[in-house]
Assembly symmetry: C2
Homo-oligomer: 454 residues x 2
Amino acid sequence: MVSTPNQLDATAVATETRAGRLSVREVAQSVLERIELRDPAVRAWSHLDPEAVLASADGLDGRETRGLLHGVPVGVKDVINTRDMPTEHHTARYVGSVPGVDAACIDTLRSAGALLVGKTVTTEFAATNTGGPTRNPHDPERTPGGSSSGSGAAVADLQVAVALGTQTGGSTIRPASFTGVYALKPTWNSISREGLKMYSATCDTLGLYARSGRDLALLADVFHLDEPDRPLPTSLAGLRVGLCRTPAWDLAEPATREALATAAGVLRDGGAEVAELELPEIFEELPTVHRRILRREGRSAFLNEHLASPDLPAFFHEMVLGTDTVDSIGWPTGTPDVADFRAAYRVADRCRALYDDVASPFDVVLTPSAPGEAPIGIGNTGSSVFNSLWTLLQVPVVNVPGLVGPAGMPIGVSIVGRRYQDRLAVACAGLLGAAVAARTDDVAPSLPAMAAFR
Amino acid sequence: MVSTPNQLDATAVATETRAGRLSVREVAQSVLERIELRDPAVRAWSHLDPEAVLASADGLDGRETRGLLHGVPVGVKDVINTRDMPTEHHTARYVGSVPGVDAACIDTLRSAGALLVGKTVTTEFAATNTGGPTRNPHDPERTPGGSSSGSGAAVADLQVAVALGTQTGGSTIRPASFTGVYALKPTWNSISREGLKMYSATCDTLGLYARSGRDLALLADVFHLDEPDRPLPTSLAGLRVGLCRTPAWDLAEPATREALATAAGVLRDGGAEVAELELPEIFEELPTVHRRILRREGRSAFLNEHLASPDLPAFFHEMVLGTDTVDSIGWPTGTPDVADFRAAYRVADRCRALYDDVASPFDVVLTPSAPGEAPIGIGNTGSSVFNSLWTLLQVPVVNVPGLVGPAGMPIGVSIVGRRYQDRLAVACAGLLGAAVAARTDDVAPSLPAMAAFR
């Protein structure tokens, strides 16, 4: 028996449980103890029923066939339907609401033998930047990011090995950067979004959190992501990496500038070729295009909520009625009409086709995950300015953890692939993460904020 | 009291019920009588509980506020979640399954006061061309089309005024053409798809059936479709119409060629300018691109079903595993790899942006709805070759009924708009439909197949 199964990554848990050296009940007990210890400080969960978790664990222990995720503890963002737990979207109307059918991703996780632990805190409908109760495990005064606040925090805090998030702007990658874990925002819809709350059909993507690169590769197996069209790399040597500062570079804080430079240095030290990728001028329109598309698609997505819930925050009503003057992150929306929306889609279409060309000389692209370390305060979950571009382009993005900013907080960098090259992006991110960890151990031996709980 | 409320269109029902001249119970009774009479021949319903319908009607009669669709009887395709009726997807695993939460569109319909009558027959997961039990109301030996078989048939047969369908290839427009009703496949995601079974995230669209152009305009109000960016036309005079035969023209049967020519003539007689719209060469790739995208997105969409339901038809398993050699309509799939999928998305992106330009000289485009009249036999629901192009382009399409083919069966034509110009397309379709009806009354006074039941 492993003494603290909650500390294991998913690959290790599944290896032990499948071999019969660890029971799922032991995993469940360890995870529940960790949550009991840490929940008052972190508050990652919107629903947790310890008795139900133990019952599920016993059910899994009784199974004859053991799936790829046998007994792996998973947290589920509370905008994803679960037939045996409430799905509340952090909004008044759905308190206690239990969908009768699992989301497709939950169904797949059950087939793989995952242990569903509970629902994690989201911002309202995963559509706002208004933080819930969750705190950053590395510093309770700071946001864990959002909207997948609870999922990022629970994985970072060793409460679960894996968690599900979603991303419409930067809702998966940003919390990963702020809390120091791996995350994959896969190619748009390469994992089914059926059974998830919608906001933007163009941008909404299921996201995955884990504490190791190999876990993301395991999850790529579980979710049957595409077979690679070339052998996956086993070292950094010879990798062709595009360094993309994006049109948002002016908003990068010193911590992010340094993190990107450090990551590029680690890649070069490992033998990768790192060259600048300057995006064509039309890409400068994408931040505006992203906001326009969310605004139009939010109008459709929240129409039924607008009609049924007069008490919703004004943001939702105004988005549906087209009377909003600022968007979810406080930027002016202007007064776009149908022609503006159509133009926005046209630019997005063109950029998506174009990106596939401009990225083709590279295996992957290196780019920031967030403007800096997690901001102080939990009322606002931070900026998605370095994520929304890639979300709109529908390409796979992996957050690589391991770097630390001046405040001692984690800071991630992103590895971006072309559409359906998720496994290549995951492999490169894992190699970079390992190299970063090796270097960090050398240069920055102590991580004070992390030492507090690990 | 109106003697046969089931014959009224939605606008007439709502006008009467809102004014208090007709009770919703009377509507329900009339509809249930019609269904009782005709269901043995048409078989449009997968779930119908008359007592529950009457109870809903009484509930609506007791409401103080009366919505835009107060008491309008609506059929719901059985891939759309309803919290008080099963949602079975015409597949074994979901027999008796009741989702705990309504799809967003159902929620909106309830807010508008619609009378939800029951669930209508779909092909399995709305993904195959294998017909269910539903027959074409105009000729029981012929298919009503699919996959929204029951919805098209129920509206055509005066069993409900409105029905919901979905379209991934031609699943809304084709049944409308075959059964002789209006249908709107709106701009992609301009009506929320939350709570619907997914197949292709790129193509899946909620569809609407009705028996009049004004009903589609009413539904555009209910679903809060975009405000028009110019005054809507009130006559055909001066309309600029592009005539688009599409790259599939070789597959158009004489009936469709004649229908398109007749519709163009009606438009010209009404004072519209009709000019050829020749699509750029790259559009010839779209049929292949559409099939590739469905194949890749079906892999994600049906992964959970593949894992949980070994008894599913081989088509679904093979699509997930990439071992399929023919697609859902029997065409060879080839052996596309990731690069082929990526190329397919690139072509789709380019065509979407390009179409917006080439369509800009026109108000709307006129194009076929189907290769011909409804084929004989109910085992196969027919071809989507004239629909999949527009579905992939994500533009609004309206089927205009009123024309009749050589076998005496209905044959529709499509009016296509640019993205988010749904109301313009609906208005033009209504004007064309009225002009066609006027002409048909003159040229073809009797519709033998329709006379049998109207």
